[in-house]
Structures are given as structure tokens and as C-alpha cells.
Amino acid sequence: MKKAVFLLMLIVFFSCKKETPVVADSIVKTDTNLALYGNWVGDFVVVDSDSLADETDFMYTNKINLVIKKIEKNKVYGQSIVAGNSRPLLGEITMVNGKPCFILKEPGDRKDDGRFEFAFFNDTIEGKWLVNNKKYPVWERKFKLTKQVFKYNPKLMLPEDGDYIDWFSGRTDSIAPPDEEAQYSEVFRSASDIITKLNASTTLLNESDLKNLKKLELEIIRNTIFARHGYTFKKKSFRQFFDPVDWYIPVTDDMSGKLTLIEQKNIVLLNRFQKYAEDNYDSFGR
């Protein structure tokens, strides 16, 4: 008898679950907001900052992806993905002069949290971000974003016309004497065009492919795998190569379960070579 009651309950439970498509009707009703949903991507530029702060503490421009996920009545759910941070957003939409205006807040439990205020114009969203806590060096950023669709494409490559110079982890020992103009090409590491040719997402690499690569090149080839998956980079020395690339959209700070088998194998190999390059490139040894 007990079993029968349990079975009955199970049936009732599952039949309830099946009813969920009815709830979906309410989402269909918000069709008017569909044009607002998606990835809004563009530059996130400093307007106001702590004048006493060290300017190397932050980047003047980062690529941001402001995701509008769902609008229910006037409640808005979103996500901001920028510079290695993926923060959930919650806020409201109001109509001002017939234009949708948003105020979306980051959770507020971190010192770099703030709020986004922006308006929707035709095919762009435009507005500003204000920090909650002015102890954080950047106080205000502005942005003008366009909608982009993210789709993982393993064939994407860094553009061939780029200059791939690492401006952030340059060697401090300048080769030129202090009174002469510094020779930047010598001081800063640069990557050869191999990084625009070697695709670690589509081809299984072997040792001979990587032997002649420098640490920076190995690093960029590995990070290009992550960039294709829309990974947002915490290190500015990594972002500098991907933020300017048209196809690159930061969509996540979590790579778990996203990498293909080829990519996983290549990353193991690339990491091994990178470690070897770090330990041995300029030291006494092979």
C-alpha cells in the first residue's frame, strides 16, 4: 500500500514537471525585450579614477561583455564579464522618453563592485559604470556596446596584421644606455607570426611543432584556445593580445568541461614547454 502511495506521488510529481512548458508562456510574452537580450560587447574606458593611485594598477581600457539575460516586468537579470571577473547583475528597467534605461547592480560584496547605468539606442547600449567603494582606484568607466553573438569556433586565429609585443612584462634592464632612447624591441618580448599560424584547437601538436617557440609564443598559443571559448583573462598581459581582436568575446571565467580533447592534450604539452622555457631559456644549461 505504501508503495502504491509512493508511486502515485511520483506520478503526480512528474506530471507537475511536465507542466513547466506552460510557465514558459510568460517568457514568450516578454518577446518585446528579445532585442535586448544577449552579449553587449565593447570597450570599457576609464573616465574617473583616484589620482593618487598607481596607474599600473588598472587598465585604461578593457573589453567588456554586458549580458542581458532576462527581463521580467521591470526586473532585469544580467552578467558583466570583464578583465577576468564575471559578476551577476540585478536591476531595473525604466522607460525614459520612450527609451529603455537600465540600472544594474553588481552584488556589492567586493571592493571593485559597482553599478551600471545605461540606455538602449537602436542597436547600441551606452552608459557608465560607477564604483561603490571609492577605495578602489577606478571610480567611473564609460562604454558604448554593440550586440554580438558568441559561438565557439575552433578555427579562429589571431589576426596576422597584429604586433604581438608584450608591453607589460618587459625586461627592466634596458640595453641602451640611460641617456639614449631605449630600444623597446630589445627590451620587450615580442612574438613571431607563428602564433597566427599554429592552431592548438584544431590540430594535435607535437614536440617538434613547439621546440623553437619562446615562452611568450607558447603562452599566446595556449591562451588563444581559451579565447576561442570566450574565457575572460585576469592578467592584463594576456588581455592585451585578445581584447583588440574582433572575434574575441569574453563570456565566462570558468573553463571546466569546455575544452575539447585535442585542446586538453595540447595544453598539457604547451604547459610543459612553457615550464621548460621558464626554467632554461636564459640559464646555464641546455
Binding site: E207, K211, K214, R272, D282, F284, G285, R286
Partner: protein, 211 residues
Amino acid sequence: MNPFLKEYKKILWQLCFAWFFILMLTITLKYSSFDSNVAFLQIKQTEVNSIPPYLFIFYMHVCSGIFSLLAGFTQFNNRILTNKKGVHKVMGKLYVVIVLLLAAPSGFFIGLFANGGLYAKISFVVLAVLWFYFTLKAFLEIKKRNILMHKKWMLRSFALAFSAITLRLWKVILVYLFHPAPMDVYQVIAWLGWVPNLLVIEYYIFKTQNK
């Protein structure tokens, strides 16, 4: 030359050699785990996995090579040569056995799979053959009690053994100056490591002969 200055110069050379010997020893000790994926082997996994004897012969080279450098401390020291002939003989026999049976043949084998392409491979293989030949010659000469010829061949032999140090030193210098790609520098040091050593020692032999 002032005998005091001459002595001073010798001590300086010995200290210099001791310093590089310690560096070589630290490189050797990186392999003390006998791991198949450590230090230089990190970029040699293709060979480790596809050529069965590679790992064993590689370790044979690493373990024996360091002992061949020990000769640098004793064998060219005049005081030992004249007063402690026993030490010279023991160390000499050790050097000959190490080079002829272990270090040179293993160097030849791993040279066949060297990084840096065909020219680098040729360099390491030729180096191994010459090292073997010079050492054998020196050994045969002393068996005939021909000290002068023994000395000449041993100087040549040790000039090649010393390439273990000069090769790595050139690498540091070239990387510091030009930041080349790793295998570009490797192709250069493969030759730069031992050819100038041999030229210098030939010049030295020529000079001392005509004194």
C-alpha cells in the same frame, strides 16, 4: 712571466673551473630522481616514448659525463703530475674508461636525436667521434710511454669534454644579447660549443711546441 703571477693565474683558472664544475653538478643533480620527464627531458618526450633505449642512454651520458670533468682538477696540474703520479694515473684511468665506454658512445647515440635539426645532429655526432678518437689516441700513446704525444691528445680530448661548459656558456651569452628562438640558438651553440675549444687548444699546442 713572473712565477708568482703564473701561480696566481693558475689558481684563478682552477677557481673558475671549480665554479663551472659546480654549475654542471647542479644540472646533473636535477636528474637524480631518474625521472623520465625532468629538466631537458621535458622537451624530449617524443624520443623517450618512441626510442626504447633513449632514456637509459641519456642517463648514461648524464651520470658519466660529470665524472669526465673531474679530470680538469687533477690532470693538468704540474704539482700532481710530478709529485703524485699515482693520483694522475688513477684519475687518468677513470677518465679514459668513462669517456671510451660510457660518455662518448652515449653522446654519439643521443647526438643522433639532438634538437636543432640536421646540422646540430652532425655537430654532436662528430663531437662524440672526435672525443672518442682523441681519448683513445692519448691512451695508446701513454701505453707506448710517449708522454709528449699523450699530453697533446689529452689536451684535445679534454678541450672537447670542456665543451659541456662552453656550450652552455655560449648559450647564456647569445640569449642575453639577441633573445633568439630556442632552437635557433641551439643550432649555433652545437658548433660554437666545441670548435673554438679545439682551435684554441691547437694554437696552445703549437705555441708550446715551438718554445
